[in-house]
């Protein structure tokens, strides 16, 4: 009987000690902020398009890290982003919810534009230039192709044009594409 008690006491004492240590550690080394959200945000393409159902890339990143939102909701990022997210978060890759969208730019039909400035307000990255009652134009290098300016335009003068590949940004194709499927 005494050996039982000794065993119980020894183990109990050790457990008390380690429990206290763990309790202390959990209070003392609590991680402030959320570095994983930053990392997710880093991967997202920053189009701020909201096609994921969240009002921008940062909110989507927060939703992924905090609410466990799905990682396949970003059409502009496509499969690349999904796979990077899967790698980062150690989740299973899942097929995209929507079809991947080719990169495109907003183009304002300058003949139709009435200069209402509604699109300027909608643009999340200030890529549209113009003033009230004057024709607007899109700064091509800054447009993220988010399509947020399409809806507010009262005269439907904005269209999305896919970005054509030209010689300067052309790169060699995947050689496996030509591999004869034997």
């Amino acid at each position: 009987m005494s050996s039982m008690l000794i065993a119980a006491l020894v183990i109990g004492g050790m457990a008390t000690l380690f429990g206290a240590l763990l309790g202390y550690a959990s209070v003392h080394y609590k991680v402030e902020g959320d570095p994983i959200t930053d990392k997710i945000d880093q991967i997202l393409p920053q189009t701020q398009c909201g096609q994921c159902g969240y009002p921008g890339c940062r909110p989507y990143a927060e939703a992924i890290s905090n609410e466990g939102a799905a990682i396949n909701l970003c059409p502009p990022g496509g499969e690349t982003v999904m796979v990077s997210l899967a790698d980062l978060l150690d989740r299973e890759p899942v097929a995209l919810e929507q079809e991947e969208r080719p990169p495109s730019l907003a183009l304002i039909d300058e003949k139709t534009c009435i200069g209402c400035t509604l699109c300027i307000q909608a643009c999340p990255v200030d890529a549209i230039l113009g003033a009230a009652k004057l024709m607007h134009t899109v700064i091509a290098t800054e447009c993220t192709g988010c399509e947020l300016c399409l809806a507010p335009c009262p005269v439907d003068c904005i269209t999305m044009e896919p970005i054509p590949t030209d010689i300067t940004d052309w790169s060699w194709p995947d050689p496996d594409m030509f591999k004869v499927a034997a």
Binding site: A15, F18, L22, G23, A25, S26
Partner: protein, 221 residues
């Protein structure tokens, strides 16, 4: 709403501890030289799973997150020690065969994994169901692998049934191949790896047949 169907399906097939999660491989590979060994370890593991899942599930609301792992480990260790002692007392021959692999159940990640991933988040009934289906899923693999290795290695099936079911069960032993000279590879560890690999391949093959979308579409290229 808890989907009981899903729990059972996960344990037995979709998320099988031995084939998909690949947990508890050390005892899985070492013990399965015969069907009876596999069955014995399977039952011990299932029992441990059931007890630990039930206990974890019932105490889950009292445990703060920082000490949950030590508490789970403590519960599992106590359960396994109890089972080990009980087997030593009542199934001594089998205990001698399974040897060190009974205490090793403590470190079987399948058990701590279920405690952490399932029992600590669900109420008693689903936890019990999860333990049973996970345990049975694991046991089935043990029996299957044990059976394969026994047939190829010794040419028999269910040899030494008496260890588990008492003297009266000797009739269960079947000689599949008469005058078999034995194929050592099946009994040695490489045979276990090859056998498990083949079972996993078979499972993936069946899954591929069942689902219309081939697996390769889902994986990053």
């Amino acid at each position: 709403m808890i989907e009981y169907n899903k729990i059972v399906n996960d344990g037995l097939w979709r998320n099988n501890a031995g084939l998909v999660q690949l947990l508890g491989l050390c005892p899985l590979l070492a013990v399965t030289t015969t069907t009876i060994n596999g069955l014995g370890l399977g039952i011990a593991t299932t029992l441990t799973l059931i007890i630990s899942n039930l206990m974890v599930s019932s105490i889950r609301n009292f445990i703060t997150s920082e000490i949950r792992i030590p508490v789970f480990v403590m519960i599992i260790a106590c359960t396994v020690t109890g089972i080990e002692l009980a087997m030593n007392a009542w199934f001594h021959e089998l205990f001698l065969v399974l040897g060190i692999f009974i205490p090793l159940i403590v470190t079987n990640c399948a058990i701590i994994g279920r405690a952490e991933a399932f029992a600590s988040r669900n109420s008693l009934l689903p936890s019990l169901l999860d333990a049973i289906s996970m345990g049975i899923g694991f046991t089935l693999i043990l029996i299957l692998l044990g059976g394969m290795r026994e047939i190829f290695g010794f040419g028999t099936l269910l040899a030494q049934s008496d260890l588990m079911f008492g003297e009266g069960a000797s009739w269960m032993t079947m000689t599949i191949i008469e005058d078999y000279r034995g194929f050592l590879l099946a009994i040695l560890p490489p045979g276990a790896f090859i056998g498990l690999g083949l079972i996993i391949a078979a499972k993936n093959r069946i899954d591929m047949r069942v689902s219309a979308a081939p697996l390769s579409n889902m994986l990053p290229q």
